[in-house]
Symmetry: C2
Subunit: 145 residues, 2 copies
Amino acid sequence: MASTSETARATELERALRAQGVRITRQRTALLKVLAAAGDHPDANELHRRAHALDAKVSLATVYRTLTALEAQGVVQRHTFENAPARFETANTPHHDHMIDIDTGEVMEFRSERIEKLQAEIAAELGFELVRHRLELYGRKRRKD
Amino acid sequence: MASTSETARATELERALRAQGVRITRQRTALLKVLAAAGDHPDANELHRRAHALDAKVSLATVYRTLTALEAQGVVQRHTFENAPARFETANTPHHDHMIDIDTGEVMEFRSERIEKLQAEIAAELGFELVRHRLELYGRKRRKD
DNA sequence: ATGCAGTTGAGAATGAATTGCAAATAATAG
DNA sequence: CTATTATTTGCAATTCATTCTCAACTGCAT
């Protein structure tokens, strides 16, 4: 069952699509629900699996097309981690970077103001205006002994 | 003409291959020369083009196979930047991260001890041992006016 | 309801990278 | 130097994620 916040999030995604002059179809509605409910970082295939469970009339091509539209509106982010299909997440949370468990593939989010600041400084030193960045930490859970 | 250091670098790459029990063939020799001489971050296709110019008997498949072997030995690094084929560089330089010009695709290297340190700290806070990371800054040259 | 521009699914196409296989060849023994 | 053998090669076929093509379908403004 969708919580209130999930429903609200789905509505917000829908608004973003409408803003792009895009029609709200059954298949998009299904995908938006899935995205709103996702607490993880699923890839296109997994999103298709989930949306297809809600409404069998959802094809993988449409999942890709809709994700691209949502990404263009900035409400969904696409992450291409190391040699793996792209993973997606709704961009309702503020900017953050990712820590990936190299054993399980689990993705964690974190944010460091200091790193953000340092990045901008470095870009400036190199004579660049920083447009975006990608920071991924790959590690292994430390067993507490 | 290859400078002394280039030759030395090529020899070092060759050593790394031998250490893996791999045979030194004409095609690998050509690729090693190309890698040793490269000051940029070429992709497999470009490396193939250059190696093929030295010795027409070099196929793209062999370039990929050899790059994989060199990567396994840690003497070559593979970088997969945003939606683009992987680019390669010899790992004779100490660790560094990359700044990519989003207009030209040009790749610049930089290193920040502070960022390195912060990354390790963050991983530790999340309960992870940092194995490796990927930091890419995407920006646009600032015109000096 | 009606029209039509946007959307769909299915499958073909793409592009990077890998792989199977028979012929070619480097390293080694003699 | 030659034979032996385990690697390596080129080529084509394959894989995998993603995008595209196109005829049929469908939101949705009127």
